[in-house]
């Protein structure tokens, strides 16, 4: 399918602001395969995607594929890992700082929404296609949910009173995830950033109550 090596330039993994260094985006065979598994599973669905489809998309030989990955699932999970590593890195950059906590939450949410909006295909891959891989999905979900819940907890103000609900962070991350999922299902990933005021409010309410959450929501609107 791909004969001209110049064509490969369009099969780069992250478009937009994923925070990946340029070298990573260069077309090493591994990167090409990771980009291809995102593209083909989003287009055809995980179940219908074959290793041959991925190879065709990436312009990489079968032997190379099996040197790098055990199988289709392994390739898919490697793409998932590298993408979410870059999201985590981006989120840490803005969220872990000395600014007031509600502001850091708002900025972290903004970075997350923009990250997903920058590449709707990646958004669809992470939020929808991954859930169709079968029994392994539980382990994937568990790990990533714990990763991002942990990240938000790491950045909580040490001195602030703890919220009455012991799982307030999970509620916040769940609000973000539920909103992301909904928009991506409806094919509106590119418009995610406009949700920032609402997501900010939803995330903060269980921690700080309606009034303070409303104030931060206003700042997100501005």
């Amino acid at each position: 399918m791909i004969s001209n090596p110049d064509d490969l330039q369009q099969w780069r993994l992250p478009r937009g602001r994923h925070g990946l260094p340029r070298e990573l985006v260069e077309r090493s065979q591994r990167e090409r395969l990771l980009a291809a598994v995102v593209k083909t599973t989003v287009a055809k669905g995980y179940e219908s995607t074959t290793v041959a489809d991925i190879l065709g998309e990436a312009g990489v030989g079968r032997e190379t594929f099996y040197e790098l990955f055990d199988d289709k699932l392994d390739c898919m999970l490697s793409a998932e890992q590298i993408l979410l590593d870059s999201l985590e890195q981006r989120l840490r950059e803005v969220y872990i700082s000395s600014a007031p906590w509600p502001q850091r939450v708002r900025e972290g949410l903004q970075a997350t929404l923009e990250w997903f909006a920058a590449d709707p295909e990646v958004a669809r891959f992470l939020l929808i296609e991954l859930s169709t891989i079968g029994p392994d999905f539980h382990a994937v979900f568990r790990a990533q949910y714990a990763r991002f819940t942990g990240l938000f907890e790491d950045g909580l103000d040490a001195g602030a009173p703890s919220p009455e609900l012991s799982q307030a962070t999970r509620l916040g991350v769940s609000a973000l995830l539920a909103r992301l999922y909904e928009e991506v299902v409806l094919g509106r990933a590119a418009e995610l950033p406009r949700l920032l005021p609402d997501v900010t409010y939803d995330f903060l309410v269980p921690f700080v109550g309606e009034e303070e959450a409303r104030a931060e929501q206003q700042r997100a609107t501005a």
């Binding site: 929808i128 012991s166 991350v173 609000a175 539920a178 909103r179 939803d202 309606e210």
Partner: protein, 226 residues
């Protein structure tokens, strides 16, 4: 919380007259149960018709008499789960309960029912997401008006503080995580959060916290003030 829809199970049973019809009904129910159990064990994606017919102890031909395919069977199972949970919720509350209390009781009962049958929880969270996101929209459409109706008892429904659809999604994420961490049987651990989510959209943060506190106290008396 809907009062006028009788369960498919009991409703149909009353209308059945011939032994053949009764047998058929039993078969259908066995297939649905098998679907729920298989999905709980290995997810919908990995479940095959062969798994379902083996567990339901029926023939493949019989399966296809009731359902066009695996997906149709899944949809019927989801629908039945939702009806079941709505009945559980409405049975838990008294018509005289103030709305926030009624919602707490309903949510508590639903969490209890899900904990007793983790297969239902798996079907309604992980599998629904994977199979077809629109399934979620369908059951949200059935559930949210019922929730609204509880608040209408006080007159007109209050302006929502937050989107009830979002609360629904949040509850799903929490439950999915509980299942994914292998603690489906310990769903009641999530009760304070689920009650908070259920009361919040129409009751607001303060009322939601208050009901959440009461749910926690009821679950573990004397430890709530910690």
């Amino acid at each position: 919380m809907q009062k006028h829809r009788s369960s498919e199970t009991t409703g149909d049973l009353l209308r059945l007259s011939t032994p053949v019809e009764i047998a058929r009904h039993g078969q259908r129910q066995r297939i649905l149960d098998a679907m729920i159990e298989c999905s709980a064990e290995k997810t919908y994606a990995a479940t095959t018709i062969t798994d379902i017919v083996a567990r339901a102890r029926i023939s493949r031909t019989t399966f296809y008499k009731h359902f066009a395919d695996k997906r149709a069977c899944f949809d019927a199972a989801v629908e039945q789960c939702i009806e079941e949970l709505q009945q559980v919720a409405s049975a838990a509350l008294a018509p005289t309960d103030p709305p926030a209390e009624a919602v707490r009781k309903g949510a508590t009962a639903v969490v209890g029912a899900l904990a007793a049958r983790p297969g239902l929880a798996q079907l309604l969270t992980g599998d629904a997401i994977a199979v077809d996101p629109m399934v979620i929209e369908r059951y949200r459409r059935a559930t949210i008006p019922a929730l609204e109706a509880v608040w209408e008892q006080e007159g007109s429904a209050p302006e929502p503080h937050t989107d009830p659809r979002l609360a629904f999604g949040q509850a799903q994420v929490l439950i999915l995580n509980q299942i994914a961490t292998g603690k489906a049987d310990k769903l009641p651990e999530l009760l304070p959060e689920i009650v908070y989510l259920a009361v919040g959209p129409y009751g607001g943060h303060e009322k939601a916290l208050e009901q959440s506190r009461r749910a926690r106290e009821a679950a573990a008396p004397g430890t709530a003030s910690e």
